[in-house]
């Protein structure tokens, strides 16, 4: 340990090893003394009692060392020339004892802080008071601790300024070096801490507290199964603190991650309470397989669900983006990993805080529909006629509405007013934390009340988060984290999109209900339309309680210094119940209040289902951390097992005598159905990781995981995944030492491969499909072998190459991080393309490849002006390019074949006819390529389609790939400032270059009778030869020349920049409360404050793409996003 010290101190070299031991012992004692001084300022009694005759000096020194904490330094040689002494003292001071011992000897001594250096007595000069002291080496030792935690810091550089003398602190934070004459200035520095200089005049012991520097370099980041100092990372990892994500207010923490982490795309599809349909993608879409693109979510070390957590309970969220960071999750890390740490208490400090906020949420960007009934009827007749149908309304009927004075009987009804409203969303959050005697705890209680801005939706959520850590003894720590959630979601029995289209399909000619309570179907029987959405929302609610819990227990043991044994066992369970009654309700025509039969929302009856999933995880690992001077090593290895059990039950009965009986037993047994099943999968793993660095300068890392899964056949079920990474902290090199503006510069690279097996539960097993047939009234069970399996099925594999750079400069005010990646997924698990004549379901096979290349960076600047004004700005940027490298013959996707999977193109590229203006005249039609195969012979006012292949006709071969499925780039910018008690922040989030396909209700006029949007007033007519809008037509498959031709006419630029949030807050000075309240902050925030987009349609440009949205068939309709004005307060006691 102190080799360096010895080599630099030839004058103290004794006889090899013995001396070393002595010095080690000495150091230990010195340090112990230092600690004792620090802690108690009490030690041994320093009085000495001796009674010996004719003993050597060496023996006396030993005896003194035994009795006191004085230490002797001397050369053996010196003592050889000394005489034995006789001594008899009691409770004497050291000076007295030494005076006796050294009298008459050619020796003298110096005493510094209980270190006694025995030296040769110099010849006495004339003026003994001017005796020249020779240059001496004195030991300087000490302890370096962190200013904030008080914990010892290892690997801290301690140097004597202007000399080559220097050392590092050991794992316990201790150091020791010798300074000539015991004088000089010690420079103590460590990355992540403010460097400190300490003047030392005569050796001795120092205690140094290093202040954490403002930069986050010292930050410890959670990586797979362990933590690592941020500065030592060699992989692409980004992290955000709970504090940062909670600058906004949202009920689902997933949405708070938007724009916070470069490389992570968060798309919020809707504002439906409790069902925001958030999609997470790390570095693009890596695969087209059923294995999916969802990242693995790890909560406190174990797989879990992010949405169930109360955002206030989150301490940090880390995203592992590349293979190097995710490889330790092996077969589950292919799509990246999101690692969430929840809060635990901190010893010694009791903290109680309460947050409350209330927000007014209003639906944003609703379509502008024509709600004047007479105008609607005239346009409808025009559209029907254009589409070759008879007009629906007679002139007499139109005149009734046109000239009406009774607007109850002849209304201009706006259904959007029925369906949307402003609501108040409330959040309460109470948190307690603290600790005593090695035990710390935290408890968070949350309640959210979130009514929907759309009629019929409501969401209530109760969360409990408990964190507990207890140090059982010196070596053993026990901990637990538990999150529980009870959520009750209420929504109309059909989904929000279906309800929305039902609302869009209503004509303005009638209200939902008459004043005396009759439910209306439509005004006239010949009208088109859909079910009454108000009735659906009010009488057909689905009650959907969900009980979710995830928890784990951890047991950590410090076996030896640096060697740790960690165990974690966890479980998550989810019980989801759902029940809805499709009511039987008579409905009427508004024109004459005649009967229109019963409400047509679907087969009346009660549907009830219940499913549950239990997921258990257990792992055990050993980790070892060691530093040998400049060599730092950490090793980790462990084993894990996960088991997932799912079961499901459902039942249906019809024939209910009334709508108020909503239990199965109240229905008729005739026509009842039921079903249920269960499934199970398991995965076992061994994993390991090694990190090494030299001098904090050259960094190396490697991870490995060996996984076996029940989803794959025996011979191929075990897969090996691994990664290698390296980093070079250039700023530690001597040639950059003097570049004062540069605080840190690191270049890093990683490569590795990961797996994905998340497909089906039994994809390799040959299963018979069960069916039946009714032979003369007897229902027989049947089986058919109809599925092929590939017995050599194996993992889908993703390879990632990542190159990155991290930098901090200008006294750590500026930090920058950038990554380039090349992610290649191959052996994709997919249904094979089998010929149809084979007559069997395709086997799941390994085939196909996708590549994503991209770039992302993050830039942060923070500074202050004067003492009180602080400000910061963070910019994030990401882009990726997706390419299908190997697929096979093209396949079409999307609800109406709008997309294509084709080699060389991005996954699910738009594949459309290109709309090329509007035919203005018959002459123009005659001169243009024949497009009559697209829904019929065109007439003036129809859309003109482009002849892409130039063969003189427009047909099925003229569809082409149109870019825009994925954004060109995404970006976010956050800035904030504080002045005294005031703080303010603004968050921007944007996406550039992606397009959305919008059609049917809400865009196409009269889709199921849906009122056209007001822009159809500018439609093509002979009198208004529009060049952009065709003549009006019947939407929803009613006009094959448009509704049967999927073209760029329906493709819209959905680039946007959103002012995601603006917040201002004021923290009331605590002195006002005289100690009763530690702090009180009040704030006001506007979420979704503004949206800048070229999209003119009344919908939000941010939405899931057409192939990932389960209800994309509905086209335009999408539960609208909200703008929310929130007022809140948080109090800490």
């Amino acid at each position: 340990m102190h080799l360096r010290l010895l080599s630099k101190a030839p004058s103290f070299r004794r006889t090899g090893f013995v001396k070393t031991l002595l010095i080690m012992k000495l150091t230990t004692i010195l340090l112990l003394a230092a600690c004792l001084q620090v802690t108690a300022k009490e030690g041994y009694s320093q009085k000495i009692t001796l009674a010996r005759n004719n003993v050597s000096l060496k023996a006396i020194f030993k005896e003194i060392e035994k009795q006191s904490d004085y230490q002797f330094f001397y050369k053996e040689k010196l003592l050889k020339q000394t005489k034995n002494v006789n001594i008899r003292v009691a409770n004497a001071s050291i000076e007295e004892v030494l005076a006796i011992c050294l009298s008459d000897q050619p020796l003298t001594y110096s005493l510094v802080d209980r270190i006694i250096v025995i030296k040769k007595q110099l010849p006495v000069l004339n003026k003994p008071e001017e005796a020249i002291q020779p240059p001496l080496f004195a030991v300087i030792s000490g302890l370096v601790v962190s200013d904030s935690t008080g914990q010892p810091l290892s690997g801290v550089s301690v140097k004597l300024k202007g000399t080559s003398v220097g050392t590092y602190t050991d794992v316990n934070g201790n150091f020791s070096l010798q300074a000539p004459d015991g004088k000089g200035v010690l420079v103590i520095s460590s990355v992540g801490y403010e460097p400190q200089e300490i003047r030392v005049s005569k050796g001795g012991i120092v205690r140094v507290s290093l202040k954490v520097s403002v930069t986050k370099l010292a930050e410890v980041v959670i990586v797979g199964y362990a933590t690592q100092e941020k500065r030592k990372l060699t992989s692409a990892v980004v992290t955000v603190s709970g504090e940062d994500i909670n600058r906004r207010v949202a009920t689902d923490p997933t949405s708070l991650l938007q724009g916070q982490l470069p490389g992570l795309s968060v798309v919020q599809n809707s504002a439906e309470p409790g069902n925001e349909d958030l999609q997470l993608r790390i570095r693009g879409v890596g695969t087209f397989s059923g294995a999916g693109n969802n990242p693995l979510i790890i909560i406190d070390g174990l797989p879990g669900n992010l949405s169930v957590i109360n955002p206030n309970d989150i301490e940090s969220v880390t995203v592992l983006k590349d293979a190097a960071s995710a490889a330790i999750y092996g077969s589950r890390g292919a799509n990246g990993v999101v690692v969430v740490k929840t809060k635990r208490g901190r010893s010694g400090v009791f903290a109680l805080s309460y947050n409350y906020n209330a927000g007014l949420a209003t639906p944003n960007r609703l379509p502008h529909l024509i709600t004047n009934s007479a105008e609607y009827m005239e346009l409808s007749n025009e559209a029907e006629t254009n589409s070759g149908n008879a007009p629906l309304y007679t002139q007499a009927e139109i005149d009734l509405y046109k000239n009406a004075t009774d607007r109850v009987k002849y209304p201009n009804h706006n259904w959007m007013d029925d369906m949307f409203k402003t609501v108040t969303v409330q959040n309460h959050y109470l948190s307690l934390s603290g600790g005593k005697e090695g035990t710390s705890y935290s408890l968070g209680l949350g309640f959210t009340d979130q009514p929907g801005t759309m009629l019929g939706f409501n969401y209530k959520k109760y969360t409990v988060d408990l964190g507990l850590t207890s140090r059982i003894n010196k070596r053993v720590t026990l901990g637990t984290n538990i999150q529980l959630r009870y959520a009750n979601r209420i929504y109309p029995f059909d989904n929000s999109t279906d309800l929305y289209i039902a609302a869009l399909a209503q004509s303005p000619l009638y209200p939902a209900q008459t004043a005396d309570g009759l439910w209306i179907f439509k005004a006239y029987s010949q009208e088109l339309g859909n079910k009454n959405p108000v009735l659906t929302a009010k009488l057909g609610p689905t009650k959907n309680p969900d009980y979710y819990g995830q928890g784990n227990i951890s047991l950590d043991v410090d076996i030896l210094k640096g060697l740790k044994w960690e165990n974690r066992a966890g479980l998550s369970f989810d019980v989801n119940k759902s029940k809805y009654l499709i009511p039987t309700v008579p409905v009427y025509f508004y024109s004459d209040l005649s009967s229109a039969g019963n409400y047509n929302g679907g087969s009346p009856g009660l549907n009830q289902s219940e499913n549950d999933e239990i997921h258990t995880t257990i792992y055990s690992q050993l980790s070892y951390k060691r530093s040998f001077r400049a060599h730092n090593l950490s090793i980790l290895g462990g084993a894990q097992e996960e088991v997932d059990n799912y079961s499901q039950l459902n039942a249906f009965r019809t024939g209910y005598p009334t709508n108020s009986l909503t239990e199965l037993n109240a229905g008729s047994a005739n026509g009842q159905t039921n079903g249920g099943t269960s499934s199970e999968w398991a995965i076992q793993s061994l994993y390991g990781n090694i990190n090494y660095d030299f001098d904090d300068k050259y960094l190396l890392g490697a991870s490995v995981r060996y996984d076996g899964t029940s989803r794959l056949p025996k011979d191929t079920r075990w897969g090996l995944f691994y990664s290698f990474s390296g980093g070079w902290r250039v700023s530690r090199e001597s040639f950059l030492k003097d570049v004062s503006w540069l605080n840190d510069l690191k270049i890093r690279g990683s490569w590795g491969q990961l797996g994905n097996q998340n497909i089906g539960t039994y994809p390799y097993q040959s299963i018979l499909s069960q069916n039946n047939y009714a032979f003369a009234g007897n229902v027989n069970t049947g089986f058919t072998a109809n599925t092929l399996v590939d017995p050599s099925l194996t993992w889908e594999t993703t390879r990632v190459l990542d190159l990155g750079i991290d930098m901090a400069a200008l006294n750590n005010k500026l930090s920058f991080s950038a990554d380039w990646f090349n992610k290649y997924t191959f052996n994709i698990l997919r249904g094979s393309q089998v010929p149809l004549w084979l007559g069997l379901n395709a086997p799941t096979i390994n085939n196909g490849a996708v590549r994503n290349k991209g770039f992302e960076f993050s830039l942060r600047y923070q500074d202050h002006v004067g003492k009180d004004f602080n400000f910061y700005g963070v910019a994030n940027f990401q882009m990726y390019r997706n390419k299908l490298e190997s697929f096979g013959s093209p396949e079409y996707g999307g609800p109406d074949g709008q997309t294509i999977m084709k080699n060389g193109q991005p996954i699910n590229s738009f594949y459309l006819y290109v709309a090329d203006g509007i035919f203005q005249s018959q002459d123009e039609i005659n001169k243009s390529p024949d497009q009559s195969s697209l829904g019929g012979v065109p007439t003036p006012g129809d859309i003109k389609y482009k002849d892409i292949n130039g063969d003189g006709k427009v047909d099925v071969n003229d569809r082409t790939v149109v870019p825009g499925q994925y954004p060109k780039f995404e970006y976010s910018y956050t800035m904030g400032a504080s002045y005294k008690g005031f703080d303010a922040s603004v968050q921007l989030y944007g996406s550039q270059g992606n397009k959305i396909f919008l059609y049917k209700w809400g865009t196409d006029p009269f889709a199921q009778g849906a009122p056209p949007t007001t822009d159809w007033r500018d439609r093509w007519t002979p009198a208004n030869p529009s060049k952009t809008m065709p003549k009006i037509y019947m939407g929803y498959y009613g006009y094959p020349k448009i509704t049967g031709v999927q073209s760029t006419f329906h493709l819209y630029d959905a680039s946007f920049m959103r002012i995601k949030n603006i917040m201002v807050g004021y923290t009331i000075p605590s002195r006002i409360f005289k100690g009763s309240i530690k702090s009180l902050r009040i704030y006001f925030s506007v979420d979704n404050a503004a949206l800048f987009t070229p999209l003119k349609q009344g919908t939000d440009p941010e939405r899931l793409d057409i192939n990932n949205k389960p209800d994309a068939w509905y086209g335009f309709a999408n539960y609208p996003q909200n703008r929310t004005y929130t007022f809140g307060a948080s109090i800490q006691f």
Partner: protein, 494 residues
């Protein structure tokens, strides 16, 4: 301290042992049968045979493939206002290799059934022998012939597969065979079925010999092998196992159809376990639907006084006495989806239904072959092969004179062509909405004449149906062309 350490050591050991041996990774589904334990006992043959019949429930484009009604919406007989099965769109916009679900699914479903039969034939010998084996094979041959005949009628030139699908590499590609070969395959299958199937009445839902003979006769007619068609039809007639149902409409709803002596083959349903996915009562006349409505052209086909007109369609002003199931309202065109100028279907609607509404469940069997068709097939074949002899008159007149219909006999002395027209008329009205019209028009060579430019709805004269000569051979689905490149070539004209 010591105790704690000991405890921890124990825990560590327990944990390690658990991790290596706790959970087996060999997991199998708990609700499905694995192929490894199938084809072991005779009862497996019953399960597999039921699985074959289940292919008759195939769905295409939102309706049951074998529900006959939707095929008439492809012709001049009826109009599908909701374009169920994609019929209306294809009628207006024409057929393409990517026309839609129905154009893909009729093809795909055919091969799913054929693969199931091929697998069945390859394995059934393992567990059965003797007569029982023959009968089971006969039923399988019948179903394969049924599906190949279907494919031959629609797409014409398609691949022929007879091997156990599990012995074929899923990566292989196949060229199409000419229609004649496909029909030959179907003919061989029907021949095998005729040899193996019992010569009995149709009672259990299982195919009988007459069903195979009847379909083979239909095939012969399609190929214009009239003498053979006449001989087969006559064979059924002289077999005397079937007779005309004295109550014409009761062939089409339960429970009456269960005892009908006229039905030779049908797709069977049974409440509550096997209802129609969509109730016929709802789809045909229910509120919100009233799909598949007869055209004016169809109505005009009926001779004056032919009671089958009102047995097959509802008419304006119909009330409960006429079977209109809404007691409160009289049937009125233009009200509740009754399209003006069209006539809702009565065939298939249970007369006992009152106020059909959502939630209505029904289970009428889809009649695919009945004795009246056999008689008319005989008449047509004999007229073509020999001329309008007495047997031709006899068979047509017996259908016309069936109890409850009692239409007068055909006038004597008809020429062969006049007789041909009479038979074509008789087929259209007797078999209206039974899914035969589209195929009849095509095999008579008059589909283009009848279906090209046909105006279904007089109020929208601009909307015309589209039929081209090459529709004789539907386009093979583009997916299939793509997956069999370069060996599989698209049919001409697409």
């Amino acid at each position: 301290m010591q105790a704690t350490n000991k405890y921890i050591a124990q825990l560590f050991l327990a944990g390690m042992v658990c991790l290596v041996s706790c959970k087996k990774l060999d997991l199998t589904p708990t609700d499905q049968l694995s192929t490894t334990i199938f084809w072991k006992t005779a009862s497996d043959a019953d399960l597999a045979l039921t699985g074959l019949y289940n292919t008759l429930y195939a769905s295409s484009g939102g309706v049951d493939q074998n529900a006959p009604y939707w095929w008439d919406c492809f012709s001049d007989n009826a109009y599908s206002q909701h374009s169920l099965g994609g019929s209306q769109n294809a009628l207006i916009a024409g057929l393409t290799p990517t026309s839609g679900a129905y154009q893909l699914l009729y093809y795909q479903n055919g091969y799913i059934a054929i693969a199931a039969v091929n697998s069945f034939l390859a394995n059934v010998g393992k567990v059965l022998s003797g007569d029982k084996l023959n009968q089971y094979k006969g039923e399988a041959f019948f179903l394969r012939g049924f599906n190949y005949f279907w494919l031959a009628q629609l797409y014409g030139n398609v691949p022929i597969v007879t091997a156990d699908p599990f012995t074929i590499s899923y990566q292989s590609k196949m060229a199409k065979s000419p229609r004649a070969d496909v029909l030959k395959q179907a003919e061989n299958d029907f021949d095998s079925a005729i040899a193996y199937l019992p010569d009995t009445k149709y009672a259990t839902g299982h195919a009988v010999k007459a069903a195979a003979e009847g379909f083979l006769a239909r095939l012969y007619l399609f190929e214009q092998r009239f003498a053979e068609a006449a001989a087969l039809a006559q064979n059924i007639i002289t077999g005397n196992l079937f007779s005309l149902n004295p109550n014409y409409p009761s062939n089409f709803y339960k429970p009456d159809q269960k005892s009908s002596p006229e039905i030779i083959f049908s797709v069977q349903y049974q409440l509550p376990a096997v209802p129609h996915p969509y109730s016929l009562g709802m789809l045909l006349i229910g509120p919100g639907w009233k799909d598949c409505q007869g055209t004016q052209d169809m109505i005009n086909e009926y001779e004056t006084g032919d009671p089958r007109k009102t047995m097959t369609f509802f008419f304006p002003g119909d009330g409960t006495a006429q079977g209109w199931p809404y007691p409160a309202t009289v049937g009125t065109p233009g009200v509740a989806e009754w399209v003006v100028g069209f006539y809702p279907s009565k065939k298939g609607v249970d007369p006992a239904v009152v106020n059909p509404t959502l939630g209505l469940l029904d289970d009428q069997d889809y009649v695919l072959l009945r004795y009246a068709d056999i008689k008319l097939m005989y008449a047509e074949a004999q007229n073509e092969a020999v001329g309008p002899d007495a047997s031709v008159y006899q068979q047509v007149n017996e259908v016309r004179a069936r109890p409850g219909v009692n239409m007068p006999p055909l006038p004597a002395g008809l020429s062969q062509d006049s007789m041909r027209q009479k038979i074509r008329h008789e087929r259209r009205v007797e078999l209206a909405l039974e899914g035969l019209r589209y195929y009849d028009l095509r095999r008579w060579g008059i589909a283009t004449q009848k279906l090209s430019g046909f105006v279904q709805n007089p109020t929208t004269p601009a909307v015309k149906t589209m039929y081209k000569d090459n529709y004789e051979f539907w386009p093979i689905p583009q997916t299939e062309i793509d997956r069999n490149q370069p060996v599989l070539i698209q049919n001409d004209g697409y």
